[in-house]
C-alpha cells in the first residue's frame, strides 16, 4: 500500500470535532452501565428533592394527628405518615435536600483541606511533609465513627457544624492521594522545566502539578460525597447529627427501631433512600475511575 492511498482513504473520515461528549473518557464512562445508572439516579434524586416539596399537598412539618402511623399506599399520604402524622414523602424529600447538601458541602470542604495538606506535604518533602503525613496517619488511627462522635459532643449540632465535623474527619484519604500524586509529578520533566524557568512554588503547585492530578481527585471527591452522606446518617441516627424538626435521612431513622413491629416503613424508607444515594455515588466514582484512567483505552 502506497502512501498516497493511505492518505486518500483517511481523508474523507474526518474526526469529529473534539468535545466533552465524544471524548474517550466520556465514552468509557457511558459504557459503564452502573455508573450511568448512578449518575441518572443522582440527577433524578436531586431534582425530586428540589422540586418535589413544592408539588406536594403536605408540608414536611404539617402534623395530621388523625392520620398517625398511616401505612404507605393506603390513604391521602402516599408513603404513609410518621408517629406525629407527618407525611413521609414530604419529609423524605426535605430530608434529601439536607442530606445531599450536607454530603456535597462536606465533600467540598474536606477536598479543600485534603488537597492543601496533600499538596504541601508532597511538594515540600522533608520535615514539613513528614510531619503533615504523620498527622494524617495519626488521624486515620481513630475509627471514623469514634472520632465523629467524640467531636460531636463538643459542638452544638446545626447543619453547618455537622458539615464541618464531617469534613474535618474525612480529608485524610484525599491528602494521601494528592500527596502521592505530587511526589511523583514533581520529578517529571514539565515540573523540572517550570522550576528551571523560575516559576514560584505556588505557581508550580497550582498551575503545573494540580491540573495533572485532577483525575484521582475527581474520583476521590465523588466517593467522598458517598462517605459524607453515610457519615451524616450515622451520627444523626445516633442522635448527635442533624436535630429534629429539621429532617435528614439519618434522623428520620432515629426513633424508627421502637416502631419496627407496628410501623416498619418508618425504618425501611429512609434507609432505602440513603442506600440508593450512596450506591449511586459509589457507582459513579467507580465509573469515573475507569473513565479517567488513560491506560484503559477503548479498542
Amino acid at each position: 500500500m502506497s502512501n498516497s492511498e493511505l492518505i486518500s482513504t483517511a481523508e474523507p473520515r474526518l474526526a469529529p470535532p473534539p468535545s466533552f461528549w465524544n471524548s474517550p473518557g466520556f465514552r468509557r464512562f457511558r459504557r459503564h452501565k452502573l455508573a450511568v445508572f448512578g449518575a441518572t439516579a443522582i440527577v433524578v434524586m436531586t431534582l425530586a428533592c428540589i422540586i418535589g416539596p413544592m408539588l406536594l399537598p403536605y408540608n414536611d412539618t404539617f402534623i395530621d394527628i388523625r392520620q398517625r402511623f398511616a401505612p404507605p399506599f393506603s390513604g391521602p399520604h402516599v408513603l404513609g405518615t410518621d408517629p406525629l402524622g407527618r407525611d413521609i414523602l414530604a419529609r423524605l424529600l426535605m430530608a434529601g435536600r439536607i442530606s445531599l447538601a450536607v454530603g456535597f458541602s462536606a465533600m467540598v470542604i474536606s477536598m479543600a483541606i485534603g488537597i492543601c495538606v496533600g499538596m504541601v506535604a508532597g511538594f515540600y518533602e522533608g520535615v514539613i511533609g513528614a510531619t503533615l503525613m504523620r498527622f494524617v496517619d495519626a488521624m486515620l488511627c481513630f475509627p471514623s465513627i469514634f472520632l465523629l462522635l467524640a467531636i460531636s459532643a463538643l459542638i452544638s449540632p446545626s447543619v453547618p457544624s455537622i458539615v464541618m465535623l464531617i469534613a474535618m474527619t474525612s480529608w485524610m484519604e484525599v491528602a494521601r492521594v494528592v500527596e502521592a500524586q505530587m511526589r511523583s509529578l514533581r520529578t517529571r520533566d514539565f515540573a523540572v522545566a517550570a522550576v528551571s524557568m523560575g516559576s514560584s512554588n505556588a505557581r508550580i503547585m497550582f498551575r503545573e502539578l494540580l491540573p495533572n492530578a485532577v483525575a484521582p481527585i475527581v474520583v476521590a471527591a465523588t466517593l467522598n460525597v458517598a462517605h459524607a452522606i453515610l457519615a451524616e446518617s450515622y451520627i444523626s441516627f445516633l442522635g448527635y447529627g442533624i436535630q429534629p424538626p429539621t429532617p435528614s435521612w439519618g434522623n428520620m431513622l432515629e426513633g424508627a427501631q421502637s416502631y419496627l413491629t407496628s410501623a416498619p416503613w418508618l425504618a425501611i424508607l429512609p434507609g432505602a433512600a440513603i442506600t440508593l444515594a450512596v450506591t449511586s455515588f459509589n457507582f459513579v466514582g467507580d465509573g469515573l475511575r475507569d473513565a479517567l484512567d488513560p491506560r484503559l483505552d477503548l479498542p
Binding site: R134, A150, L253, L260, P264, A267, N282
Partner: protein, 317 residues
C-alpha cells in the same frame, strides 16, 4: 527481621504519641473542658467549679496537663470515670470481650464467605455470578450498617421470629447455645461490609495469581484444576489479604459501634456512646486511645505476619 520489628515499633509509638495529643486536644477543646460534666448539673457554683479545677489540676497550662496525663497513662493509670469512679481501664476491660467476640466471629464469617465469592468470581470472570457479586459488593459497601441491622431485626426477629432482637444472652439463661443464638444477628450485620471488602480484594488478588508462571507449571504437570486453584493459587492469593485484614480494623471497629447500638450489645461501642452522652471524658479519652492502639496493632501484626508468610519479602533494613 528484628531491625524491621524495632523500626515498625518505633513508628507505631511515634504515631501513638501524636494520636494521644490529638485525643487530648479534642478532650480539652470541649466548651468548659472536662469540667462541663459538673457544670451541667446546675448545683455547682463558680467557686465549686474553680475548686474542682484546682483539685483535678485543670487550671494549669495545657502542655503541663498533657505531660502529667501522659505520665499517668504510661504507668497504667487511665483515670477514673466521672460517672461511678471506676478505673477507666477496668471499665474498658469489662466491655472489650463482647466487642472482640463480635469482631472475631464476623471477621471469620466474612473471610470464609468473601474468599468463596472472590475465588468463584475470579475463576468465572465476567460471568453472571461475577457481575452480581460485583454489584452486590458495591451495594453492601453503601448500605448504612445500622439500617441493615434494622432490616435483619425486622425480617428475622419480627417477621420470622428466628433470632432474638438484641442483647448478648437471655437474662437467666447464660448457656452457650443461647449466646450463639444472640450472636448470629449482629455477626451477620457486622460481616456485611467485611465480606464485600474481602470478596473484592480476593477476586483481584486471585486474578493476579492465576496468570503467574507457577500456575502454568502446575497445570502443565497435570495437576487437577481443583488442586491448582486451591493449593497453588489460593494460598498465594491469600498473602495480600493479611494486609487487608490488618488495615480493616478501623472500619470493623466503627461497624461494631453501630451494630452494638442496634442490637443493644454490651460492648465497647455502646460504652463509648453512653460515655459521650454522660460527658464522661476520662472514659471517652480512654476508649479513643484504646481503639487507636487496636488499629496500630492491627497494621503492625499484619506487617509482621506478611513478612513471616511471604519469604520473598526480605526484611533486612
Amino acid at each position: 527481621m528484628s531491625t524491621f520489628l524495632v523500626q515498625r515499633l518505633m513508628q507505631a509509638l511515634v504515631l501513638l504519641l501524636i494520636v494521644s495529643m490529638i485525643g487530648f486536644a479534642i478532650l480539652h477543646l470541649a466548651p468548659g473542658g472536662p469540667l462541663s460534666q459538673f457544670a451541667a448539673s446546675g448545683e455547682m457554683t463558680q467557686a465549686d467549679l474553680d475548686r474542682i479545677a484546682e483539685q483535678l489540676g485543670l487550671n494549669r497550662p495545657l502542655p503541663v496537663q498533657y505531660l502529667e496525663w501522659l505520665w499517668r497513662m504510661l504507668r497504667g493509670d487511665w483515670g477514673l470515670s466521672y460517672r461511678d469512679q471506676q478505673p477507666v481501664l477496668h471499665i474498658i476491660a469489662s466491655h472489650i470481650g463482647a466487642t472482640l467476640e463480635l469482631m472475631l466471629t464476623s471477621t471469620l464469617l466474612a473471610m470464609l464467605l468473601g474468599a468463596w465469592i472472590g475465588i468463584l468470581g475470579a475463576i468465572k470472570r465476567y460471568s453472571l455470578f461475577d457481575s452480581l457479586a460485583t454489584i452486590g459488593a458495591m451495594i453492601a459497601l453503601s448500605i448504612p450498617t445500622f439500617w441493615f441491622g434494622l432490616v435483619v431485626i425486622y425480617v428475622f426477629s419480627v417477621g420470622l421470629g428466628w433470632l432474638p432482637s438484641g442483647n448478648r444472652y437471655t437474662i437467666g439463661d447464660g448457656s452457650f447455645l443461647n449466646q450463639i443464638h444472640h450472636l448470629i444477628g449482629p455477626c451477620i450485620v457486622l460481616a456485611l461490609v467485611s465480606t464485600a471488602v474481602w470478596s473484592r480484594y480476593m477476586r483481584s488478588s486471585m486474578l493476579e495469581v492465576v496468570n503467574q508462571d507457577y500456575i502454568r507449571t502446575a497445570r502443565a504437570k497435570g495437576l487437577p484444576e481443583r488442586s491448582v486453584l486451591l493449593r497453588h493459587a489460593f494460598r498465594n492469593a491469600l498473602l495480600p489479604m493479611i494486609t487487608i485484614t490488618g488495615l480493616h480494623v478501623p472500619t470493623l471497629l466503627s461497624g461494631a459501634l453501630v451494630t452494638e447500638t442496634v442490637f443493644t450489645w454490651p460492648g465497647m461501642g455502646r460504652l463509648f456512646l453512653d460515655s459521650i452522652s454522660y460527658r464522661d471524658y476520662p472514659v471517652v479519652m480512654g476508649i479513643l486511645m484504646f481503639t487507636a492502639v487496636l488499629v496500630l496493632l492491627g497494621s503492625l501484626i499484619a506487617d509482621l505476619l506478611y513478612g513471616i508468610a511471604d519469604p520473598r519479602i526480605a526484611r533486612n533494613g
